[in-house]
Subunit: 209 residues, 2 copies
DNA sequence: GCAGTAATTAATCAAGTGTATAATTTCAAA
DNA sequence: TTTGAAATTATACACTTGATTAATTACTGC
């Protein structure tokens, strides 16, 4: 009986493959389905190998969460482009409520991980990092946006706006990703942009360009 | 060696205890920690008993989710009271962003369950029910609120408002429950009410009473 | 081409899981 | 008080889980 053949991969590649396999497992089977064996199978690898790249399963899952969140924020932030602040903010909003940020798979992974934050300190820390990054991004853009319009907003007011806008985006993202409603028929981007403009006291037309 | 003593309970009570124990387990240990033995221990009962009240663990968890969501919506809806529509809407909003609806334990349970919706059809159905109930409640209140003010809003516009408001409340609820920010210092109720008024085009003062 | 090292496999382990069932105990009715 | 049925316990089972280790294989540098 002969062993299965294999070929070596650079450390970074294998780590990446294992993380990708983990995220696929979580998306399709839930966190409970992301077993060491399932992940190894999807990565085309043997279960024992995981331990060479991650001390234990907990670390693997935490690493997967970190890259997931980082990628998600990066994708959303990439929608900003450059130009005046209100255009960048509009880009961020558009990216946040459309695929690939807003879709079922992303939500599934996010939800599965979020469910662990309360009972797992490692996951809680990984979560805090990513969350704060997004909030800071929004707060920065809102501030710039208001300043651009000559509004002399206090830091406190900017923060308040950021909190509300962040909440709105989170909520819309969840609703859209969940897909229960007939969002296909609506212009979700339009809804998100108009609502944001209303909340910030900006002329909605300015967002539509 | 003598067996442990026990006393019988009416079917409804036992079911309730088991569900409560399940929710406690999920809140503190996550879904993975809600094992048959853990739940039984918390309910002061032996693991085998669970099978007498629920065909299998899956059913127990689904039942727990259903009662959890139902209670949550009921608690939020109880904040409505009676009176003019805008007062009832304000009550719902207030209830949604304050304890016991908005707190860490509630969020933990919610998140743990949400994480299963994508990979578990039974949970998906339980989820859809509860979610729709809340959305309908908001839509109804928004409609009444606008009509009360003489605004002749189309059903489509009402629906749009409900979607946005629901998203805002969901997002705020998550942010507050997560507790990462220094919400303790802010008047979250005020923020929620003012934002809602802005979105619906209502005078904020009308909400503050 | 060869040797050595490191990556990978294969096989095994102990612990924990949900489930099943038989043995007991409680309680209400007679 | 006794009896019988239903609720509860206790025990066991088959399976899956994450982890561990020795044996093998692939690749790098010479």
């Amino acid at each position: 009986m002969t062993r299965r053949t294999f070929h070596r991969e650079p450390e970074a590649v294998r780590q990446n493959d294992l993380i990708a396999a983990t995220l696929d497992s979580v998306a399709e089977l839930g966190l409970a389905g992301a077993t060491v064996r399932e992940v190894a199978n999807r990565a085309g690898v043997t279960p024992g190998l995981i331990r060479r790249y991650f001390d234990n399963k907990e670390r693997l899952v935490a690493a997967a969460y970190r890259t997931f969140i980082a990628d998600l924020i990066e994708t959303a932030a990439a929608g900003c482009g450059d130009g005046p602040a209100h255009t960048r903010l509009a880009g961020l909003i558009r990216a946040s409520v459309t695929a690939p940020v807003a879709d079922g798979r992303t939500l599934s992974i996010w939800a599965a991980f979020i469910g662990t934050v309360n009972s797992d300190p490692v996951m809680a820390e990984a979560h805090r990092e990513g969350y704060q990054a997004f909030r800071d991004l929004i707060e920065h853009l809102v501030g710039e946006c208001l300043r651009e319009r000559g509004t002399d907003a206090s830091q406190q007011l900017i923060r308040r706006h950021a909190i509300v806008l962040n909440a709105l985006l989170d909520g819309l993202w969840i609703e859209i990703s969940m897909g229960g409603d007939d969002f296909s028929r609506m212009d979700v981007v339009r809804i998100a942009l108009d609502s944001t403009a209303t909340l910030l006291g900006i002329d909605p037309a300015e967002f539509r360009e």
